[in-house]
Symmetry: C2
Subunit: 302 residues, 2 copies
Amino acid sequence: MKFAYLPKPKDEPIAALEAKGHTHVGLEDNPDMVVFGGGPEDFPDELPASVKVVQIIYAGVENLQDVFAKHSKNGVRFANAGGLYDDTVAESTLALLLAVEHRLKAVTEQWNNTQLFEEKQYLFDNKKLALIGAGGIGKTLIRFLEPFGMEVTAVNRSGNPVEGADRTVTLSDEVWAEHDYFVLLTPLTEETRHMVNAETIAKMRDSAVIVNVGRGPLVDTEALTQALGSGTLRGAGLDVTEPEPLPADHELWDLDNCVITPHVANIPRFTLRRIGGLAAKNWELFEAGETMSTEVDVKTGY
Amino acid sequence: MKFAYLPKPKDEPIAALEAKGHTHVGLEDNPDMVVFGGGPEDFPDELPASVKVVQIIYAGVENLQDVFAKHSKNGVRFANAGGLYDDTVAESTLALLLAVEHRLKAVTEQWNNTQLFEEKQYLFDNKKLALIGAGGIGKTLIRFLEPFGMEVTAVNRSGNPVEGADRTVTLSDEVWAEHDYFVLLTPLTEETRHMVNAETIAKMRDSAVIVNVGRGPLVDTEALTQALGSGTLRGAGLDVTEPEPLPADHELWDLDNCVITPHVANIPRFTLRRIGGLAAKNWELFEAGETMSTEVDVKTGY
């Protein structure tokens, strides 16, 4: 098949697709597939009628809802990059959680720091973790956490069992009340926006830690800042924030119980290494008349 | 039996020993056992002839060699606290390694930081780790690392297989040349002092990372500082340093590829929670005429 790579062609995935016998062309050359790595403003207003599939190179596609609505009417099908980031984001989640609990940001040049001795917590020490949204990243995280003997509750909308979790439930007050750690991995929708807010934080233990590696707006930044500053929450690890970038003068940067990374849980190197293979696989499934492995459900938007 | 707790009695382990039917007394009341938590300068010049066993509450006992020599002549036997720190130190090792590889100290307020994208490394990404000294901490670390699919080489003096390692070897130039990560866990002896020095660093890959959670003097601080500053080594995670405390104005504090924690890999809370049980178990073994589970070999000094 012929594919275009927009908005900016990248060597590594193009080579991977060419190795599978596909041909890189421009959008004007009637491609069968478009591999797309931009924001909504970069998406072509019109697609040639030849385009049957658009492979997006990221997993959180909430900003492309208008694009889906417009082009799916013409029969175009979309796939996201779910699954490509499972290991990178899961490992980054573990790094954030450990950095928070081991108080790495509170380290000073002082030895025999009794405050550090008191505040340091260990993951192996009878902790309970709630995975809010448990797809591929969550399942990989469960694997990474397995040696720590943590009790893991997966939280999803169906309550259908998630492999590896000790239990799977739907979200409730009990979930907020009964866990030490909350890892946010759920897609951003109107339902999940600001799911962590002053009200849900009030239900949590004072010793709770929140790790957001999903989308910034899952958390009400103001409520989180207040709770971390006052000690109503023990800590947070954030790879995504609202707004993003987080302003350089934002109070969260100064809190030693808040470890922030600037949206680097996954990094472009890994996307480029893997997206060609996923696009090729999805094309095969499309040609075989099947649902693609990461096909976007245009109704739910993810 | 009767036990004294020196130099400063601690409630939690005393309660644990009392729960096993033992009696807390002063040194002047002819104890059978001494539980000892101080440095060499705190050790009594003379022990009552009643004392048969000294349980030390830490694992690295290189500073007590003179104490061992003097009192073992009178038949006193010593046990260290090996094994009590396996999980705390192993988890802290993982936290340091992740903090170094995920470049947490290099994070700035800048989003889309291409340098961070380039430099960040993942443990799951085909890494090779050498455990220099592979006792209980090392075995626990192997368990914590298992989900990352890392290739683990255990290095010990005998070359006798270490459970969970992909191979066990004695130290050689190849070991320094062929691994990405070096975790130092070996006891400090004249043989191991400054085992990481300018010469051994020169044998390592530029991408190598050293994590020292053993003893500070295992590493030549000056050679390490030079290598980290010049990029001959990618990074280091240090929970112990030489000297210790590391002076507040030492260059290592300013290097963003060097993550330092002030000797908190294990913390007193866990020692106090566990040492009473270990002392009771060692007393039982002693009474049964057996070698204690963590008995110090006075000849080798650990």
